[in-house]
C-alpha cells in the first residue's frame, strides 16, 4: 500500500478500497500498516450491526434499510458475513442475492466476508474491515452477521447500534428471557410481520422487555428501552420507522455519553484480544520446535492433564523476550 493507495481509499476509490479489504481479510503486513495509518480517520461513521437467526430476513432488511438511508442522502457500506464450512474451509457468500436493487448506486459499497472459523458471528477481521470503510468516509457502516442463535454476540462490540431481527414462529416467550442475542439488542425488529404469528412474536418480545431489559448493556440501560419495529422487508414496509429508531438510538448514545463508554469498551476488548493473540504467538516462538505437538501427545496418553500442560509450556517458554 503506497501513500497514494491510502489516499485513494480515503477518497472512497472503490478499487483501492476493495483491494485493501482483501489484504485486511488475509491479515497481511501491508494491511497492518494501512490500518495503522487509517486509524486516526476512524470513529466517524455510525456502525450498525444486524443479527438474528438464519431465515429471519436479515439480508433483505439490510438492503431495504440501505435504500431508505440512501434516500436521506447517507452513504452506506455493508459488510455481510456468511459462515465458512468447518470441513472444507470454503464458503458460499450469498447475501448479495437479496441486495441486487442496490447495484449501480455509487453511494453503496457491499463486501461479503467468510467467517473463517470464528464463532462469534463475525470473521476475526470484520472489525478491521469496518475501520477501513469508516475511514473511507461512509456515513453508515452496516454489518450483517452470520445467522446467529443465542451466543453470537461479537457484534455488540463492533457496532454502536445493534438491531436484532426476529420473525414469526421462531420460539415462545421463554426464548426471549434466555441469555443471548436479545440482550444485545438496541432495536428489535419483527420482520415478515405479514405472516401469521407476527402478533404473538411482537407480544412475546414486549413481554420480555417488560420483565426487564437486560443489564448486559448497562451503559444504555438508563433511558433507553429497545423499540420494537414491525417490518415486511420484501415490501419495504416499516423501514422508515426502523431508520428513525436507529437515528434515535445514535442520538441517545451521544446525549448520554454512552457512545464514549462503548467506544472505550470496544477499544479495550480489541486490545485485549490482540494482546492475547500476540502473546500466544510469542510464546509459541519461544518453545522448542515440536514441543506443542509432544505435549498434545502426552495429553492424549493421559500422561499429563490440560492445566498441567499449560504450566509446563509456560515454564518451558521462560520469560518473554
Amino acid at each position: 500500500m503506497t501513500e497514494g493507495d491510502l489516499a485513494a481509499v480515503r477518497a472512497g476509490d472503490r478499487r483501492a478500497l476493495a483491494r485493501l479489504l482483501t489484504q485486511v481479510e488475509n491479515q497481511t503486513p501491508a494491511a497492518e500498516a494501512a490500518l495503522a495509518a487509517l486509524f486516526p480517520h476512524t470513529g466517524r461513521a455510525h456502525l450498525i450491526g444486524v443479527t438474528g437467526a438464519p431465515g429471519t430476513g436479515k439480508s433483505s432488511l439490510v438492503a431495504e434499510l440501505a435504500k431508505v438511508l440512501r434516500r436521506q442522502g447517507e452513504s452506506v457500506a455493508i459488510v455481510a458475513v456468511d459462515p465458512t464450512s468447518p470441513f472444507t474451509g470454503g464458503a458460499i457468500l450469498g447475501d448479495r442475492i437479496r441486495m441486487r436493487d442496490l447495484a449501480g448506486d455509487p453511494g453503496v459499497f457491499i463486501r461479503s466476508m467468510a467467517s473463517r472459523g470464528a464463532l462469534g458471528g463475525l470473521a476475526r477481521t470484520t472489525a478491521d474491515a469496518v475501520q477501513v470503510l469508516d475511514a473511507a468516509g461512509f456515513n453508515r457502516v452496516i454489518v450483517e452477521t452470520v445467522g446467529a442463535g443465542q451466543s453470537e454476540v461479537e457484534i455488540a462490540r463492533t457496532a454502536q447500534t445493534v438491531l436484532v431481527v426476529e420473525a414469526p414462529g421462531l420460539g415462545d416467550e421463554v426464548q426471549g428471557i434466555k441469555a443471548g442475542i436479545l440482550e444485545i439488542a438496541d432495536v428489535l425488529v419483527v420482520n415478515k410481520a405479514d405472516l401469521p404469528g407476527a402478533e404473538t412474536a411482537l407480544r412475546a418480545l414486549r413481554a420480555s422487555l417488560e420483565i426487564g431489559h437486560s443489564a448486559a448493556r448497562r451503559d444504555t440501560a438508563a433511558g433507553w428501552t429497545p423499540p420494537i419495529v414491525a417490518t415486511v422487508a420484501v415490501h419495504g414496509q416499516g423501514l422508515e420507522e426502523l431508520a428513525g429508531a436507529l437515528d434515535r438510538h445514535r442520538d441517545h448514545l451521544r446525549a448520554s455519553g454512552a457512545d464514549n463508554a462503548r467506544e472505550r469498551a470496544r477499544l479495550a476488548g480489541d486490545l485485549e484480544s490482540r494482546l492475547r493473540g500476540a502473546l500466544y504467538q510469542r510464546l509459541l516462538a519461544q518453545l522448542e520446535p515440536g514441543q506443542f505437538a509432544q505435549t498434545v501427545d502426552k495429553l492424549q496418553l493421559r500422561e499429563l492433564d490440560p492445566a498441567g500442560a499449560v504450566r509446563q509450556l509456560l515454564e518451558a517458554a521462560g520469560p518473554l523476550s
Binding site: 478499487r15 491479515q27 465458512t84 472444507t88 474451509g89 464458503a91 458460499i92 448479495r96 442475492i97 447495484a103
Partner: protein
C-alpha cells in the same frame, strides 16, 4: 498472515431462470475451499462487473444457458477492463456451442465449458486461473 483463499464470483447473467448449474458449481468450489460469492439470477454485465470490483475477486464464473453468451461475455470483459480489472479471468459454463468457443477465447474468455463437464474439471480450471492471476501480481 493467514492463507490467501481464492475469491470467486459465480454469476448468472441473462434472463433465463435456471440456476441449478450455477449452484452446483458454487457448491463444488466451496467444497474445494474457496470463498464463493454467489449473486443470484438475472444479473446484467454491469451488476457483475460492479460486484467483481467491490468483492475484489480472483476469478469470475458465468453460467449462461440463454444463448446470449456472445453478447454478454464480451460486454463484461469490456466493463472489467474499464474498471481496471482486465486481469481477472472469466470462465463460462452452460450451453455454449463448440463453434463459439474460439471466438469467446479470442475475445478474452479464459475457458468455456459445455454441458457434461465434471465439477472437478471446473475446480481445477478455477484454481489454475487464480494461480495465473496471482503470479502476475
Amino acid at each position: 498472515m493467514t492463507e490467501r483463499r481464492i475469491r470467486v464470483l459465480i454469476a448468472k447473467p441473462g434472463l433465463d431462470g435456471h440456476d441449478r448449474g450455477a449452484k452446483v458449481i458454487a457448491r463444488a468450489l466451496r467444497d474445494a475451499g474457496m470463498d464463493v460469492i454467489y449473486t443470484g439470477l438475472r444479473q446484467t454485465p454491469e451488476m457483475i462487473a460492479e460486484a467483481a470490483l467491490q468483492e475484489d475477486v480472483d476469478v469470475i464464473g458465468l453460467s449462461i444457458l440463454s444463448g446470449a453468451h456472445m453478447a454478454l461475455a464480451p460486454r463484461l470483459l469490456e466493463l472489467l477492463r474499464a474498471n481496471g480489472q482486465g486481469e481477472v479471468p472469466v470462465l463460462i459454463g452452460g450451453i455454449i456451442p463448440g463453434e463459439d468457443v474460439p471466438a469467446l477465447k479470442a475475445a478474452g474468455i479464459a475457458e468455456a465449458f459445455g454441458p457434461g463437464t465434471s465439477t472437478e474439471a471446473v475446480v481445477a480450471a478455477v484454481r489454475q486461473a487464480a494461480a495465473r492471476k496471482w503470479a502476475k501480481e
